[in-house]
């Protein structure tokens, strides 16, 4: 517990991070392979005339994409915090319990089956990925519960094995897929951002923000649980109930994120660690700050993904690993003396 964290400090830091995030999003919306004039974009076309390409690119392509990157980054980073805390394992990330392979398998099935319809503006890939992700977490959670006393070890092992099994199935499908189908899924498996419809952003954003807020509410309980289950029980916290709720919410927001953007790696692993290294391990602060930093990180990474090989683009997962890896190592070396790993 960090007595130094007063509500005022928390509010100040959160507000500062929010302001920074908004600034970064605005700046990144102005960067892109095509030069866009803000004046032309905001100029109202006369009635009946077509909107300017500047408006279309900025408002209908870039802003939705920047918003999407922020949402996905926030969701992955926040659920990374929870998985690291509950599993007591610094290697944990949102994908550790099989979300990634479950979603990947779902997406792969949708691509191979050649489905071509949309539901509320979502493609079959997104819907199958969402169902696959939640289904897998549920399966792993169920196996973990059966193992009883050694629940965390059981969960981790079940997660690792289910991940490996589903990955093998993905590899099987990859090997029988047509080369064209293959390419589509490869990009999806490395994280692929596109602009989404505002309705999708609205709904996804609502789910993610509500999920993160709920995780923030659980902060005090998570603080006690990460010290030790016995301590938590002794002061009357129902460990299992808190764990169950926290897992369900993080799995849900991860599944939403994955279905929106494919498998963006690394954000959920390094952002929580980076925030913990810089600001300490209090979950009341870790959850909101990680979410905000995760959002900033992914917005920047996605802008790089759009720009580096423009007018083509890179899968954003490649960029998160390439920027994130070295940056995190630097942070680890320079702050290693004040590391507070969970438990």
């Amino acid at each position: 517990m960090h007595p130094s964290l007063t509500p005022r400090i928390l509010l100040f830091r959160t507000a500062l991070a929010t302001a920074l995030l908004v600034a970064i999003m605005l700046a990144c919306a102005m960067i892109g392979p095509q030069d866009v004039s803000l004046k032309a974009a905001l100029h109202r076309p006369p009635a009946g005339a077509a909107v300017s390409p500047d408006y279309e690119i900025l408002v209908r392509v870039r802003i939705p994409r920047v918003l999407l990157a922020a949402m996905v980054g926030a969701a992955l980073a926040a659920s990374g915090v929870i998985f690291q805390a509950l599993l007591g394992n610094p290697l944990a990330d949102p994908y550790i319990l099989g979300v990634s392979s479950g979603a990947g398998l779902g997406a792969m099935i949708a691509v191979i089956a050649g489905l071509n319809w949309t539901l509320w503006g979502r493609s079959p890939i997104a819907i199958f990925a969402f169902v696959g992700a939640l289904g897998t977490v549920w399966l792993v959670w169920g196996i973990g519960r059966v193992t009883g006393r050694y629940q965390v070890t059981g969960l981790l092992l079940a997660g690792v094995v289910v991940n490996a099994f589903f990955s093998a199935m993905i590899m099987f499908l990859v090997s029988v897929a047509k080369s064209q189908q293959l390419h589509a899924t490869l990009f999806w498996l490395m994280g692929n951002m596109t602009e989404e419809d505002f309705f999708v952003l609205w709904m996804g954003g609502g789910g993610i923000v509500a999920g993160i807020t709920a995780l923030y509410f659980l902060g005090p309980q998570l603080n006690v649980i990460s010290v030790g289950h016995e301590d938590a029980r002794s002061i009357g916290i129902s460990v299992q109930r808190v764990e169950c709720i926290a897992f369900a919410i993080s799995a849900f927001i991860t599944a939403v994120a994955v279905s929106l953007s494919g498998l963006v790696g690394f954000v959920g692993l390094i952002v929580p660690h980076a925030v913990r290294l810089l600001f300490g391990p209090d979950h009341r602060q870790l959850v909101p700050l990680s979410a905000l930093v995760g959002a900033m990180f992914l917005v920047v990474a996605d802008t790089a993904a759009r720009m580096v090989v423009a007018p083509a683009q890179l899968p954003v997962g490649v960029v998160t690993a390439m920027i994130g890896g070295p940056f995190f190592l630097l942070l680890l070396v320079s702050h290693s003396r004040k590391v507070f790993w969970p438990r």
Partner: protein
């Protein structure tokens, strides 16, 4: 407890508000496809670019993908990203009246996104020899060049028939078409390459397989007894180098007829891996490998 209720209420309210204010997107197109002279066209694949040029629409092309290099004028056109990772921003900046795409997932997705913004797109499935003619006809219809499209299809057909007569009645040469050497991957029967081999008077040495481009072992290569091995060159500039590497690799198969007869060919990959109006050229290139005597080589 109160805060949890508040959060749930806010979430429900937000969702309800969303379905009223923002509303789920409709997949309607602002202007449906149909015959219309398209002044500004963007092509999303090298072979589609070749078709558009062959239809005389070169001057109307305002954007192509990175690998569109034939005819040479195509390489001068502005690019809108790569075939696999097109940039929607670049497409929009070209203000196209028509965007022509292929039909696989990524192109479908791009065309769906463009339609949502009111752009007109045409998806054509050019994956088989028959699909090429259908694709040309569909593009002709969408761009008001049906006459040119019919003429183009007829001339391709005539050329193919001419080559067919030339190779007719001769022995069907068994061909192994190598897509990749290590690990070994070859063209299976469900590909347009297989069709081109047959049209060139050959026979695919590989029988029916589950995979479209199956990975095969040395055992299958020896058992298939190919009389000719063809490798399309990946980089046009490095054909000679690839030929040397191919010979060095294939020499280990002493009992394969193609190797003993020295009939391992490395040919221009661009011509044979794009299904375009240059199809007769591709078939002739293959036929020259199979039956050099027919062409007086």
């Amino acid at each position: 407890m109160v805060k949890w209720w508040l959060l749930s209420a806010a979430f429900v309210l937000w969702t309800a508000l969303g379905s009223v204010i923002v509303r789920p997107p409709a997949d309607a197109t602002r202007h449906g496809p149909g015959a219309r002279t398209s002044v500004r066209i963007v092509s999303m694949a090298p072979n589609l670019t070749e078709i558009l040029f062959a239809l005389g629409l070169g001057p109307n092309l305002v954007g192509v993908t990175q690998d569109s290099d034939y005819p040479p004028a195509a390489a001068q056109k502005p690019t809108v990203g790569s075939f696999w990772q097109p940039s929607i921003e670049a497409v929009i900046a070209m203000r196209p009246d028509l965007v022509v795409t292929q039909t696989f997932a990524q192109h479908r997705e791009l065309s769906r996104r463009l339609r949502r913004m009111g752009y007109r797109s045409l998806e054509v499935a050019v994956e088989t020899v028959a699909g090429l003619s259908e694709g040309i006809a569909a593009i002709g219809e969408a761009t008001g060049t049906t006459g040119q499209a019919d003429a183009l299809c007829a001339s391709i057909r005539a050329e193919i028939d001419r080559l067919g007569t030339l190779t007719a009645g001769t022995h069907r040469v068994k061909v192994l078409w190598v897509v990749q050497r290590e690990p070994l991957r070859v063209a299976g029967r469900n590909t347009f390459i297989h069709e081109m081999i047959e049209l060139a008077g050959g026979e695919n040495a590989i029988g029916p397989t589950v995979h479209i481009y199956p990975a095969v072992g040395s055992e299958q290569v020896i058992a298939a007894r190919p009389e000719v091995i063809i490798e399309p060159a990946m980089l046009p500039g490095a054909m000679e180098q690839q030929r040397q590497q191919a010979l060095a690799y294939w020499n280990r198969f002493e009992n394969v007829p193609a190797v003993t007869a020295g009939r391992v060919y490395v040919i221009d990959g661009d011509v044979v891996s794009r299904l375009s109006p240059r199809l007769p050229v591709a078939i002739e290139t293959i036929a020259r490998c199979l039956r050099p005597d027919l062409f007086g080589d």
